[in-house]
Structures are given as structure tokens and as C-alpha cells.
Amino acid sequence: MDTEDKQSCDNFTLDTTSSSKLNYPCGGLEMKRKLDDTEKPEKSEDSTDPCAHMISTSSSSSSNTIMSQYFASECEKRDQTRKEPPNIGYELNVAKAIMQQYSTISGDNLFDHLSDIIKRVIDERPPNVIDFFEEFSRNVREQKLHLPERFPPDGVFEESRLYRVAKKLLLSMKLPAPEPHELPAADEMTALEESKSAILEGLKLDILDLSRFITFNERVQHLQFFWNQCGFGINPDDIFQLACAMDRLQTHPSIMQCRFWGMISGLKASYYIVEASLSHEEVLSRVDQMTEELQEKRKEMLQRIVSGVRPTPTFIGPELIPGKLGWDQHPIEEIEKMVPEAAPIPLVEPKEVFSVPPELVGAGTNRYSYFVVNNVSDDWIELPMVTPGQIRASREIKKFLTGDLEADIQSYPCFPGKEKHYLRALIARITAGTYIAPYGYYRTMTKKERRAYDGIEDDEEEEEEEEEPSVLGEGEEDTIDNDVMLLKNEKYEPEQLESLTDTEKWLHVRPNLLLQGRVIWYDELKAQKVREKEIERLKKMLHMEEMGVEEDELELEEEEEEDMEGEEFSVPEEGPPILHPISNDRSDQYTIPWVSRFTSKYTNRNERILVMQSNVWPGAYTFTFEKLCESIYVGWGHKYVARNMLFKHLPPVMGEYPHGNEDFIETTDPTPEEEEAYRLSLLKKQKKVDDGEQLDEYDDEYSADTNTTDQDEEE
């Protein structure tokens, strides 16, 4: 055995050129074989395959350590029967013992570590291991410390971070719970169908009626195919869940139809947004509620103005003292009667805060409602209505969305609302600016259809003549009605895609937002007059109630006032009509607001899709393919700026006192002598006052005195 060992060692040293004889431990493999050999006689195992044995010894360090201790004692035994100095076996043992010294810090030893590394290298065969040897060795050690094999398998169980999410997702899909007694499948089917047909019968009329107005394409997975071809859209993993979520929303009774609007990224989470049109009943009930609320608010405001109750100032300036010098020597009764000589406390002047009213639900900017969600498995949250003030404010600021709907918006000028309002305003602006379709794709409703849409019964059969629905915004009517819903043109014949690259061929299909923040212009001046009149009327009523006069006279007066109207006439703000070509778009930041791209330039010319992308709102895309045209927005929700946003500056600091240049006259400082003289003169005056002089005189004299001193100085 020993001789064999020696021979193999000798062979090894001869073969390798790099390691000298003194460097035995370098050949790790060799060493292991040595270890193997020494083990064999001691344990008296008949292991025919040394390789398998080697792996078993090196894999678990615990067995190694026990073994090595045992081995050390063996070595001492051998010491007595030591051979002559050039003894390879002995030298090897010494070297190994050095390497097996335990670290006082980690309790590890180099020998185990090296054998682990070698095992890993041979098992895993990582590429270029020599380049990363340090890193590899570090990994091996790290894993040794982390190895939880010795724990009982379920002693410590850490909940995976995926578990929570997965569970939530499953819950959100509202899967049918397994029932205790299972119905036969056939029964279930028939029951389902029966109920379905019952529902269908009940709704048949409605469905037929409303199907004409379905303009949304709610089939997300169908659209996903096209988005995929166009090179944008949302992740394929989410699309199925999104379709499920939209299905949940669609089945809600108050929603007529919905479509996927797009995605806006936020810092912590992004928003998936769905555009929905509400059912008629829902719209009507909401409009009622809204008008009620608005009127109540208005009434309250008017009442406050009329009654003249001013809010008391929360902060009263410098303390006022009664207007006599030496007042503190008067008795209290007299002081109470005294009137302060300073100006009265300025009261807060209530300013009219009537803002431009928002458009009603189902009209203008609030025609559709929007539902958002951070994660497709969550429940949809409806965004609030948008007000013109919010739209105007959102144009002047640029903010990152955080992903939390209730987050505050800190900005200048102050944004009236939370993040959900800001998001809603962004959606309104993006929709108004970037929704386009080829010429002739949409048409306006005919009068008949509009009546049907509005839910008015079409009793009168008078207007039988079919009027041609126009595909351009400019109708015969003089007034442009922007606030209309468009219908898909059944007669639309798609043009060649090559010719559609011309921006002349594309029309805006959503009403333009005026600078005022509304679709339909609101006459602020007129409304103000009406308000003023109403305030007057209310005041009079109040007055008359006090006087006990009957109301008949009041109405007479009102009639008189009506003639006054029309003196001042405000010019209504006009924007481009709905369905105007996008080639008319102007942007002060970007010279070319729209660019077109084909999804395939060189290869597949038959099935390519045309994509129009907006440069003004980066991330807004519209694609068209045959009879399909859809818009989507995926981006940060930031409008393009050429360099940086022109934020509004803070106003100059308000002056505490109104003053002109002449209020501050530069003079030289008085000398100590003059100050002394002034002090003496004051003392003199004080004496006089004590004698009973009036304050007024004192004041006059004092001012005269100062005047003279000024003159003196000037001279």
C-alpha cells in the first residue's frame, strides 16, 4: 500500500512541471487521493471505487473533521515508526496538518474549503474559473455558511414574496369556489343557458337599441396582437389578466361599454387606465346629483355674500390702544368708551370664488369616466370628474405620478386636487390631443340617432328625411357643436396605407379642449352678470322681508333689468372643431407634431400596419389596419418640451405698506449732540402733557419740530 502510494506521488511530481517537490499540497487532487488512501486501512472499508469515496468524504465537512482528528492521533502513532527523512508520506501528512488548522475566527479550515472548491469545479464545470477564482471561492464559502441542510426541513419557513401576490391574483379572478356537492354538468349547463336566455329576453330590446352606439373596441387581447405588431403596448403577461379585469368591469350594471385607454407610468407603480361610458340611468342619476350639489353650493355662496357676513380675521394685528396718551390712568369705564385712533382692523374682503363650472357627467370633458388600477388584479377605482380649473392648472405644471391616487400634488401654481385629479386632467388633455382617425372613419350622428342616444322617445314621425351624416366637423350649422359623440362610419373604405401617411388624411376624433378647460365655452362674463343680478334680487328680498313688502313689485323690477343685457358682449373662445385634420396642429415646442411609421419597411408589405405617433405627447400612438383604427397612450404623462418647462415664477413679494419713493428720504444720521437735544425736548413735552396738554397739539408740535430739524440738516 505504502509503496503504491509513493509511486503515485512520484509520478505526479514528475508529470507536473509547475509544482516543485516542496509544494505538495498544491495538487489538491493528489492530496485527496492521499487522504483516501490513508483512510482505507484505518476504516477498513472495502471501497473499490476511490473516486466515489472521495466525493463522499469531501462533501460533508463534519465527517471530515472527525476523521481528521482521528487521523492526527494516528500520525502520532506513526511517529514512532518514522522512516528516514526523504519520506513522502510523512511530509504530506505534515503539510496536510498545516492546512487543516482551524481558524480561530470562523472555525473553518483551508483543507475543507479547497476540497469543496474542487468538488464544485468538477461538478459544475464553470467556464474560465481561473479568472474568477477569488469570486468562486467566496461563493463556495458563502454557500457553506448558508446551507440549511442541517435544519429540520420545516423548522423555519420563510414565506416567499411571490406567495402574497399569487394569492391576491387568484382571488381577484373570482373563480368559482369548489362546492361540497357537485351538480351534474348537464344540469349546470341548462341552468346557465336558461338564465342566459331569460336575461337576453329581458334585455333584447335594449341590446338591439344600444348596439348601434358601441364605438369602443373592448377586445384587449385582439388589440394586443396589433400592438405587438406595432411595437408598443403592455406586457403579454398582463394582457390576459387585463382582459379578465375589464370583463369584470364590463359586467357592472352601470357601465355600458369600456375600452383600454393606456398606461401611465408612475414612480412606484404605473396606472392601467380604462375608459368607460356609463349607462343612461347612471348618467341621469349622476347628473341630477351633480346639478343638485352645484346649486346647493351656489346658493350657499350667494347667501353668504348677500347676508354680508364676513369671516372674522383669524389674526388681529398690533394691539390697539385707546386713543389718548396716558389712557392707563383713566378709570376703566372711561377706557371702554374710548375709540382707538388708529385705522380699524382690516377685514377680509371675500372675493368671488365662482369658478368655471365643470361639464356635466356625460358631456364634454366628462363624457366618459375613467377607471384606473395599479395592478391588473386589483379592483378598479373610478377617477373623479375633471373641472376646468384642474385642466388649466395641470397645463402649467409637470409632475411625476407616484402611483398613489391620494398623494398630494405640491406645485406652483397650486393644483386644486390630489393626484387622482391630476391624473384625470392629464387623461382629458391627452385624449383631446392625440385621438385621431383616418378621414371618413367616423361620422357624426344624425338627428334621429342622437335622439335615440339621448333616450328621447321618437314619437313624432315628422322628420322623415334622412340627412347625410357628415364626416367632417364643419356642418351646415353656423355654430360648431364640438360636444358630440362620433359613430363608426359603416361606409368607410380604407385607403391605401401609403397615401395615409399624409397628415391631411387624419382627423381629430375627440373634441378639442379650450384654453378655458372646457369643451363648450362657458360665458364667464354673462354668468357673472346673472350672479350679480341674483345677488341684488336676494338682497332686495331680504330687505323686503324685513320691510314686509309683498313680492309682486319685485318681479316688475326684474323685467326692467332684462333690457340691460347685451351691453357688454364677451367673445366666445373658439377652438378647432372636432374632426379637423391633424395637419393643422400647431405646437410651439415641436415643429412636426405627428410622424408616421410603417411596422414593416422592407419585407412584409401586404400586412403592414401604419402607426401615427404624436411628438407632442410622446407615447401616444394610433394605428390603422384595414377597418381597424385604435389609439393608445403608454408613457410618463409628460408633454414634450424642447428644453425645459416654462414654469410660472413666484409673484414679487407683497409690500407690507403701500409706499412710493417720496416716503423714504435719505438723510444723514443725527449726531449724539442732536440726539441728546431731542431727548431733552421730549422730556420737556412730557412735562407739558402731564400738566394736561392735549395730544393733538403734541403731535403737531412734534411734527413741526422734526420738520425744522430736517431743514436744519439740509442747510
Binding site: 474568477f132 422592407y602 412584409n604 410622446p618
Partner: protein
């Protein structure tokens, strides 16, 4: 993004809302493989797209020895003929690139003239004289090279441990990298900027208690000013995927799969820096 997992990477990066059309995907992936082999690159990466008014630029880069020092950038307008981006030395070109307001046109030989900022001579806190602002002729190809360089320098991200510094100073991708684990993945200081370090080595090392000379030599994205606001970190896909977006360069997206060595970044944007960042929080 490494072209080894081109398709998978694109899918992961779709959380920014953009990807390539099927035609571009096929063209770019295959032409990049060809480019890699013809140039004997040991690593080839797709960098992203800079959208223009006419034709978009697609950018890629590769390296032979050192994945930070000898990166070579390429651009293409059609998706398969790659041209090398010039190496820009002149600081004036960089300044002009930063100041240029116009969007990219899509014509590499187009020359625009950009007015630089006026320079001032200042002595003892007083402006002595102002020079007339210089006009610089800026070729779009150079502008493209400069903007790619700037974007890469400022917001190209890699997870900690993905790059490895050899003893001879070369930097190569770490073959032993097995991905961040779910404890490390949330911490923004476990991500580094893919550039030659600008901070002092000591500074970078001392930030960590478990520092490693071969790994922690790179700058950490947690140090980018404004602190903790320059990047936004999100979890998606059942929290199995990390997405980091740059707030300075909207369109720059980075992904990393937990427990996997797959990571990468792409830029899909118009090459405009967001200078309003400090007003946007």
C-alpha cells in the same frame, strides 16, 4: 441588453410600454449577431432607439476585452447596416449637444448650428467682460454619439456583482453572477452605473460593510443626485422582475430577474433630458 437573450429581454422591458416590431426584431437580432462575429466581439449589446422625425436611430455596442473601456458603439437607420459612431473628444460638441433644442432629424450628415452659452471673464466677484456666444456647427452623427455617450454615462444600470474587475484591471462580465436575491433586490444601493467609476474607489468601497474589491469598484446609483429621486424602482410580474426607470432620461429602462443573471437596459426615447426633475416631486 445582451443579445444572448434578446427576445426575453425585450419582453421584460415592455414595462416601459415600448418594444420593437417583429421586423425590426428579426433584423436587429440577426444583424447584431453578424456584426459581433465580423468584429470578433466577445459581447454584443443592443442599446436602444432614438426616435427622430424621419428615420429612427438604433444603437448597439460591443466589446472585445474590457466591457467598460473598449466599448464600440454602432448605429443604424434601417436596422441591418451598422455604422460605427464616431468618438467625440471635443467638449464643445458635448456642450452643443446639451444645448441643442431641435429634435433629431434622422439624417446623420445634417449639420445644424448651435449657439453656445456666452462665457464670462470674472475677477474678484465681478464680471469683467462677456464674450459673444460662439456658434458651433454640429453634425447630427456627432450629436448622436455624444448623446449616446451621455445617456450611457448617466443612467446605464447593472446589478451589483454583474461586472468583475480582474487583477490586471480589465472589467468583464462576472461569470459567477447568479443574480440578486430577494433581500438585496429591493435596495437601490445594490445597483451600479455601467461606466468607468467617477467616484473615488475608497468612497465606493466604504459604503458597504461587505465590500469586495473586484465588484464594488463601480459607482452606485443611490449616489446620483438628486439622491433617491433619479431612479424609480418597481417590481412587476408577481414581484419576480425588477424594473428601474431613469427619471432624468425618460425612456431608459433597466430590468433584472431575481435569482438569474439576466439583466439589461434599453433606451427608447427622443434623446431629451428631463431638466425639470427637481420641480417634479
Amino acid at each position: 441588453m445582451n443579445i444572448e437573450f434578446f427576445n426575453e429581454g425585450l419582453e421584460c422591458l415592455m414595462y416601459c410600454g415600448q418594444k420593437l416590431t417583429p421586423e425590426q426584431k428579426v433584423l436587429i437580432e440577426n444583424s447584431l449577431i453578424v456584426l459581433q462575429n465580423e468584429n470578433r466581439f466577445s459581447g454584443m449589446y443592443f442599446w436602444g432607439r432614438i426616435s427622430t422625425i424621419t428615420r429612427d436611430y438604433y444603437i448597439a455596442f460591443g466589446y472585445t476585452h474590457d466591457c467598460l473601456k473598449d466599448r464600440k458603439f454602432f448605429y443604424t437607420l434601417d436596422g441591418y447596416q451598422w455604422m460605427m459612431l464616431p468618438f467625440v473628444h471635443s467638449p464643445k460638441i458635448f456642450q452643443a449637444t446639451i444645448l441643442c433644442r431641435e429634435p433629431f432629424i434622422g439624417d446623420p450628415i445634417l449639420v445644424t448650428s448651435v449657439e453656445l452659452d456666452p462665457t464670462f471673464e470674472i475677477g474678484a466677484n465681478q464680471v469683467i467682460s462677456a464674450n459673444v456666444p460662439e456658434r458651433v456647427k454640429l453634425k447630427e452623427e456627432e450629436r448622436l454619439a455624444a448623446i449616446v455617450f451621455i445617456i450611457t454615462e448617466e443612467c446605464a444600470v447593472c446589478p451589483r456583482g454583474a461586472l468583475y474587475k480582474l487583477t490586471d484591471g480589465r472589467v468583464i462580465p462576472n461569470q459567477m453572477f447568479r443574480g440578486l436575491n430577494d433581500l438585496h433586490v429591493e435596495n437601490i444601493s445594490n445597483y451600479q452605473i455601467l461606466r468607468l467609476p467617477r467616484c473615488d474607489l475608497k468612497h465606493n468601497l466604504l459604503k458597504r460593510s461587505d465590500y469586495n474589491y473586484a465588484i464594488d469598484f463601480l459607482d452606485c446609483i443611490a449616489d446620483v443626485i438628486p439622491l433617491r429621486q433619479a431612479f424609480s424602482l418597481n417590481f412587476v410580474r408577481n414581484e419576480r422582475l425588477v424594473i428601474i426607470k431613469s427619471c432624468f432620461w425618460p425612456g431608459m429602462t433597466f430590468f433584472h430577474k431575481i435569482y438569474s443573471r439576466k439583466h439589461g437596459f434599453l433606451y427608447f426615447g427622443n434623446g431629451k433630458k428631463n431638466y425639470d426633475i427637481s420641480f417634479m416631486y
